[in-house]
Symmetry: C2
Subunit: 263 residues, 2 copies
């Protein structure tokens, strides 16, 4: 049935994991740009705005969408984690054929609660305009798209940790045996790499978030740092998303995974 198999499943290499992470940057940025088409639309988040729902419109959309996605096997992938995990229906698809590459510990790590909080409390107000255009359902659905792309990227930390551990277990085993969080965090931190990632996503936000018309020479704009108001999402917000939340939380996932890696 499969001409090419899922790239994760055969041999996990740091190269492949990095490629996946870089590709996911594009997805995250495209989705932020889509969400930025709508203003804040706060009634979507108000538990009292629509009496037909027991919670907010957002909560309804998240719960129902995740239930549907669960039926088509989304949560059979270890890096896909639900935001509304209560009573998800089982998958109707056959289980994945590939042998698992992660330690079973991965299944016990889900930091979607933290992701939900920073997304709505801190990130969203930085890139969605104030206001209300009435498009609450589209807004909620775009929020879930953003949340899922960010969550997948952060929980991909399982694979980063697994491949790093497999490549040089001797580097990690002492800290794991000592259950030394701080030591593990140090081993996983490369400031220069993180700076490069922040620069790259900023550049991607400039390129993908340009207003393109036939009149102007749109492609010169990435050289001008003082025109951020012409981008659909401020490139510095994307850089900050990575620097303040995505990379630290990916490392948190890695640390939690490694702490259980020898269990």
């Amino acid at each position: 049935m499969a001409a090419e198999t899922n790239s994760k499943s055969d041999t996990l290499t740091l190269e492949k994991v990095r490629e996946a992470l870089i590709k996911q940057e594009d997805t995250i940025i495209y989705r932020l740009i889509q969400r930025a088409n709508f203003p804040l639309n706060s009634p979507a988040y108000d538990e009292k705005a629509f009496p037909s729902f027991s919670g907010s419109l957002l909560q309804f959309v998240v719960k129902e969408t995740e239930a549907l996605q669960s039926k088509v096997g989304r949560y059979e992938n270890p890096e896909e984690l639900p935001f509304s995990p209560e009573s998800l229906p089982p998958s109707l698809l056959p289980p994945p054929e590939n042998p698992p590459v992660l330690h079973p510990a991965a299944a016990s790590i889900n930091i979607n609660g933290k992701i939900w909080d920073f997304y709505f409390d801190e990130l969203l107000p930085l890139f969605a305009a104030t206001g209300d255009d009435g498009s609450y359902a589209s807004t909620a659905s775009n929020d879930l798209d953003c949340l899922q792309a960010i969550s997948r990227r952060i929980h991909y930390g399982y694979y980063v940790a697994e491949v790093k551990f497999k490549d040089s277990p001797q580097d990690y085993e002492p800290a794991i045996r000592a259950q030394d969080r701080e030591g593990l965090m140090k081993l996983l931190t490369f400031v220069d790499v993180e700076e490069k990632v922040k620069k790259r996503v900023e550049k991607k936000a400039m390129v993908f978030g340009q207003e393109v018309s036939l009149m102007d020479n749109a492609n010169t704009r990435t050289d001008q740092r003082n025109v951020s108001e012409t981008y659909k999402v401020d490139p510095l917000v994307v850089s900050r998303l990575y620097g303040e939340w995505i990379m630290p939380l990916t490392k948190l996932v890695q640390v939690e995974y490694l702490l259980r890696r020898l269990d």
Copy 2:
């Protein structure tokens, strides 16, 4: 509740309709790029691949997603039309507050059947690589995202027709009274505008579909016509999507709408 109201609802102008259409180009291109992350994945379309579903996985995803979206009011917007309209649940949200701006005839025009056919039979093979990576559910969900963006764009023809008719009814009334399809099609065809749209979406596909890295000077690529293999979706395919399908079908929607406009 609404600080700003939905821009369609107050005064419909050709300017506003055009702005909306141009914005929708970006959405369509971002979604095509997202779909192009996956190969064709033909088992998603095979009615016999998964015995748990009565049809294909795609049909299941479309039907269930549209049912959920219907509950949150998607199909209260005249330009949003379901691909699986049988037994959709009613909206749980209060009806839109704004008075309708379209003639009721709009409700009888749905060309999603044609859109479905050209998308799967002709467009998809032009931009999705052959192969199978097992991600059938994501593939189906990305297909629906593309279909919905394209359908919304084409059925926005209602507004184009309404605003053109309102601006100069005397130009259209004779052809409408004569039920002269060809005459209406001629009135709605502006070859130079269509060429401009094709050029613009081609340029957008170049800009948004670049591979961006810190090494190269990504933003110079839009000047080079011979590097289409480095774009996530071939810009000429996007130009063709507009020239062969989106613009002709938008005009078809306009003609059908105008033919009923005096009823």
